[in-house]
Homo-oligomer: 223 residues x 4
Amino acid sequence: MWKLPVIIVNFKLYPTGAGKRGLNLAKILDEVSRDRDVSIAIAVNSLNFSQIKSVVDIPVLLQHVDAVDYGAHTGRINIDLAKEMGADGILINHSERRLTIADIDYLIQRARELDIISLVCTNNARVSGAIAFLEPDMIAMEPPELIGGDISVSTARPEAIVETIEAVKSVKSVPVLVGAGIKNGQDVKKAIELGAKGVLVASGIVKAKDPKKAINDLVDGMM
Amino acid sequence: MWKLPVIIVNFKLYPTGAGKRGLNLAKILDEVSRDRDVSIAIAVNSLNFSQIKSVVDIPVLLQHVDAVDYGAHTGRINIDLAKEMGADGILINHSERRLTIADIDYLIQRARELDIISLVCTNNARVSGAIAFLEPDMIAMEPPELIGGDISVSTARPEAIVETIEAVKSVKSVPVLVGAGIKNGQDVKKAIELGAKGVLVASGIVKAKDPKKAINDLVDGMM
Amino acid sequence: MWKLPVIIVNFKLYPTGAGKRGLNLAKILDEVSRDRDVSIAIAVNSLNFSQIKSVVDIPVLLQHVDAVDYGAHTGRINIDLAKEMGADGILINHSERRLTIADIDYLIQRARELDIISLVCTNNARVSGAIAFLEPDMIAMEPPELIGGDISVSTARPEAIVETIEAVKSVKSVPVLVGAGIKNGQDVKKAIELGAKGVLVASGIVKAKDPKKAINDLVDGMM
Amino acid sequence: MWKLPVIIVNFKLYPTGAGKRGLNLAKILDEVSRDRDVSIAIAVNSLNFSQIKSVVDIPVLLQHVDAVDYGAHTGRINIDLAKEMGADGILINHSERRLTIADIDYLIQRARELDIISLVCTNNARVSGAIAFLEPDMIAMEPPELIGGDISVSTARPEAIVETIEAVKSVKSVPVLVGAGIKNGQDVKKAIELGAKGVLVASGIVKAKDPKKAINDLVDGMM
């Protein structure tokens, strides 16, 4: 189910990744994963999580949980509840939702205890090496300046991919994904050739005119 | 359905207010609202919202939404999505999730456009008067030092209730609820005698050994 | 010294508003204030405050203080210390340093107790009316979309100035300044004709090639 | 001057660590450092920094700087300005001022470029090992539950000191200080015996009735 390499699609709060349209997108990705026998996972918002989780077989991650125990925390959700509700994993420290390192550490350790996937986003090779010491299940390195842009990390910063993988390997054995500007199969292919175990993608799929075509193109690059 | 006076139960992230137990609590409150023909509403976390909303008739509010439009906002939910998912209202600026005044203003105005209830929490009479100018549907004043404690605002700070109602009335006609330490029917009765249009309660119900008995006691005070 | 109308220059953290260059800029503004007998004040960063305060006669505000009492708050400064160090006032809730309304309220009340000027930044007429209820010494309304831009609030949104002054007046008698995109005397003149009691300006002076010429131009508009 | 082992006194925003009293305390610590030929440094708030720096010879750190370049950042200070104003170093990520790991990384790298000491606070051995990968000049581990308390880390958690030093050593060679509850020479002595290169202390000195006696006691433990 959760095998590498993997394509993780972050729905963000794009209108096409939320509500009914988010549900439809999840079904499309689920279908492509099954049809092509390729590992795809999705990261969705908390309000739509349960509904989406109930209709797909692919792993569903939450985009964020707060680093708190149960208690007097109005407007917060935590990892224990994520687990109870069936979350397969959590995205931690996305560039649009940065956390303190104490909170990142808490979430990684608690994820391990609860047997739920932890995927930590990072911004460069150094920070990736640092996070590796905390032993999350996966690290996704995304150069901030390329996020949401038209040029992919594979094209613009191949050396950053290599450096990240080396930095992580020098500390602990943690699979490295890459993201930022990933748009087509060529970007995926190159990332994997450089040693990445998958990609984190958002607008390239979620904002695509034809998401099915777009994801199939990415899958081509992974074959 | 949404008539005043009202008892609003904030489930926070108490273990008894989340997951299966939160669902059970919602059903109990729904039943009491129906049986006794009294206005009760609940504020729940985002991950449990949809499931709870689907099994109760009482109004269900979200404890928090972010003041953002649809877009590249990983780990955020907004009021437009809350509306699409069926939220009856939103809690804004709870003491455990304070917002900037620019964000409070945005949420109140957008709630009005989307025809969804806005309830803004405040910490004293002055701030309540200020918020009244933004014309939310309701204001809930909770003295921070009494939140989660054993002495209710009705007992400890009755003058704060009166001052808040006067401050708000001097600006705009907005119903005022009060909260903090509300534990029994006597607390509710006194708050309403002082002019409050309801109460915001959390631990008094959610952490009660017998929540059904506890809510019935509160309802007694409202009759 | 602190008479209306006033031009308040926010040094931000522009390189020309910090360190030695910030000190020089402060001296220029001090000199122009004296020479032309016009009310000018400045808002500076905490690290440069004491040095600047010791060499000028014009009022010096801090750009931000935290809403905390003395205590275990590493990396924070408070208003009581600002007073002890000689601050004439504090900027509160600037668009680049937004605060919760509970904190804004705390700072305004404490400023009054300590006899130090409180100037609260707001983003529109509604929020300005709300803040007026808290009775700060002044309100500075700046439409966020115009801050740092080339078109001034006076030109682009004159109706926003009028609405703000009316909203504030309907609540309490608090002088209203305006800001965003203020570049020349014409902008100042128009703002004052519309009822503003002064302007809040930053890049127009701090990033000007010839700040002395730029401030003199603004002063022309106030005469 | 900046030799190891070192006692770093964090003035926080204690009333006895700010304004005139903070200045006096700095002079006392400076004198003790000279008299006893022992390495003492202090971490002070931004508003008092310049004045304190101008009267002492011991290293003066800022308790916090923001991870921003010069620009439109009202109410912020940065490390470049800290350097220009003569700061010897910066405290990064104190438990009362936590930062994202991207910001911690930025500050460490910029500190190295500007030749200014970077001291990163951490909460456990794992996080210390992670931070070591970023190669700050020093790491200060403080178990959060002991900060400000009456039992020192040396007494309550000696194994945490050992684990931290080992975790850090396994990654990079970075000196480790420890803190939390340090009150007397015995606490210092034990920390150093366990391998720490110094201590980070706050209330034990800053809130002491007789700070001179208190610091001399700590120094005894370091001899």
